[in-house]
C-alpha cells in the first residue's frame, strides 16, 4: 500500500491551480479530500506524476446563498453539508444525502467536488445533484462555464469536465413551496457506497396532484441518471400508492445494469424500483407537509 513517487504541488489560488493543471496535463491529478484518489494511488492503480493539492484554497470552501441560489464551493466537505443549517432549511436533500456517506473520517475529509469529479458509479452525490438539477461551475483557461448535472456525468468515472478545467462550485436552487425531497439507498456492507440510491425532489400542484418529480438514480448503471419514464408517469398524477408503484417500476428502464459480487444487474434494477417508490413516497409526504 505504497504509492509510486510523485511531485506534490500546493497552489494557493484557483488561478495557480489552473496553471498547474495546464502545465502538467494528463500526468497530473487534482487532490481534494483524497478519499478516493489516495487509496487508488496506494494500490498503484493510479500513479499520477504530479499531485495538485487544492485543499488549501480557502476560496473553494463555502456554503452561501446568492441571487436566490444556493452555492457550495467544490471543497465543501460532506460533514459541512450535513451540518449546515442553511442547507437543512433551504435544500434538505443535501444534508440528508451527506448523512448516508461513509464514516466519520470520510465525512470530515471527503468533499462534494471531489466526489462529483471522481464519478464513482456508486457514489451518493450524483443522485442528489440530478434530483435538484444542480449546476456545476467549471473554471478553465478560457473562463467559467456551467454544466447541468444531467450533462455532467458522461460514463463510468468520466465527467464532462475538460482536462484543463477545475470544478469550483455547485449551484442548486432552494426547495420551492409544496416541494419535498428524499434520498434512500441500500448501503454496500463493505464500502458503504450505494448498491442503489435514489434521490427525489417532488413538487405538488395546488390541486394536490404531482406537479413535477425529478428522480436521480445512482449505483445501477455505469453512470447516474434521471429516471425519465418514472418522472413522466408521475407528472400531473395524484400521488396514490398504486400510481407511485407503477411509475417507480420504470426507474431502471433501458439501463444496462451493473453486476458484481454483491448484486446482479437484475437485482439492482429491482432495488431501483423499490427504492424509487419509497423515496418518491417520502418526498410526496414531505411536500404535502410544507
Amino acid at each position: 500500500m505504497i504509492s509510486e513517487s510523485f511531485e506534490y504541488h500546493v497552489p494557493k489560488t484557483i488561478e495557480e491551480a489552473l496553471g498547474m493543471i495546464g502545465e502538467f496535463g494528463d500526468e497530473s491529478k487534482v487532490l481534494a479530500g483524497g478519499h478516493s484518489l489516495l487509496p487508488m494511488m496506494k494500490l498503484r492503480l493510479a500513479s499520477p506524476k504530479h499531485l495538485i493539492d487544492i485543499g488549501r484554497i480557502g476560496a473553494l470552501r463555502y456554503i452561501r446563498e446568492s441571487e436566490g441560489q444556493l452555492e457550495l464551493g467544490a471543497l465543501t466537505t460532506h460533514f459541512e453539508i450535513e451540518s449546515s443549517s442553511l442547507l437543512k432549511s433551504k435544500c434538505p436533500l443535501l444534508p440528508e444525502t451527506a448523512r448516508e456517506i461513509g464514516d466519520v473520517q470520510v465525512c470530515n475529509r471527503g468533499t462534494l467536488g471531489g466526489s462529483l469529479v471522481h464519478a464513482d458509479p456508486a457514489a451518493d452525490w450524483p443522485a442528489a445533484m440530478l434530483a435538484v438539477e444542480a449546476e456545476m461551475v467549471a473554471r478553465g483557461p478560457h473562463g467559467e462555464r456551467k454544466i447541468r448535472a444531467r450533462d455532467f456525468f458522461v460514463d463510468l468515472m468520466a465527467t464532462a469536465l475538460q482536462s484543463d478545467e477545475l470544478l469550483t462550485a455547485i449551484r442548486v436552487s432552494p426547495l420551492p413551496a409544496r416541494t419535498g425531497d428524499a434520498y434512500l439507498k441500500l448501503h454496500h456492507p463493505a464500502s458503504g457506497f450505494a448498491v442503489v440510491g435514489v434521490a427525489v425532489r417532488l413538487t405538488l400542484a395546488e390541486s394536490g396532484s404531482i406537479g413535477e418529480a425529478r428522480v436521480g438514480v445512482t449505483g445501477v448503471g455505469a453512470k447516474p441518471y434521471r429516471a425519465e419514464e418514472t418522472e413522466r408517469l408521475l407528472a400531473g398524477k395524484s400521488p396514490t400508492a398504486k400510481r407511485l408503484e407503477e411509475a417507480a417500476a420504470h426507474a431502471a428502464d433501458g439501463v444496462d445494469a451493473n453486476s458484481d459480487l454483491y448484486a446482479s444487474g437484475d437485482y439492482r434494477k429491482h432495488l431501483a424500483a423499490v427504492y424509487a417508490r419509497r423515496a418518491i413516497q417520502r418526498a410526496a409526504e414531505r411536500a404535502a407537509g410544507r
Binding site: L37, L45, H118, L156, A222, N258, D260
Partner: protein, 143 residues
C-alpha cells in the same frame, strides 16, 4: 467474466470482416492503442493504454486470430500483461448480413488477474463493457 454484445454496422460484411483484421483500423479504433503490429500467422502484438477514470495502465498484448471463416466468423484470443496485472480473453465474432449492413455479434470469456482483479471487482464488468463499447463505437465510424 463473460462479455457479449451486438452492434449494427452500415458496411457490408466482407468489408467489416476485412477491417476487423486490419491492424491499422484496429489501432485506430482501440482506445489508447499505441501500436498494433501484425506478426504473421494471424498473430498481432499491441501496446495499449487502458484507462478508466484515474485508473490507468499500459498493457502489452498478444492477439491471435483463429478459426477464420471469411466473411462470417473468427475466434480471437488475447493475452495481455501490464502493471495492473494480466488479462486473458477468448472470444468469437459472428457477422451476418442485415439489410444493407452487417450485424456483429461478439461473445467471450475474459479472465483478469493480479492487482486489478483483487481490488476492482465491483467495477470490472462495467469497465469491461465500457472499453468494448468504446472500441466498437470507434470501429463503427471507421467502416
Amino acid at each position: 467474466m463473460k462479455i457479449e454484445g451486438v452492434y449494427k454496422l452500415a458496411a457490408v460484411r466482407e468489408r467489416v470482416f476485412e477491417r476487423l483484421l486490419d491492424p491499422e483500423s484496429l489501432a485506430k479504433a482501440m482506445p489508447g492503442c499505441d501500436s498494433f503490429e501484425e506478426r504473421g500467422d494471424g498473430a498481432y502484438t499491441a501496446r495499449i493504454k487502458v484507462g478508466v477514470g484515474p485508473i490507468k495502465g499500459t498493457y502489452e498484448a498478444r492477439v491471435e486470430i483463429l478459426d477464420r471463416v471469411p466473411p462470417e466468423h473468427y475466434r480471437m484470443t488475447v493475452e495481455g500483461k501490464g502493471s495492473g496485472g494480466f488479462v486473458k480473453g477468448d472470444g468469437a465474432v459472428h457477422l451476418s448480413p442485415e439489410g444493407d449492413g452487417t450485424l456483429l455479434k461478439y461473445s467471450g470469456e475474459v479472465q483478469v488477474g493480479g492487482l486489478i482483479a483483487s481490488v476492482g471487482q465491483r467495477m470490472m464488468q462495467t469497465a469491461a463493457k465500457q472499453i468494448v463499447n468504446q472500441f466498437f463505437q470507434a470501429f463503427v465510424k471507421l467502416t
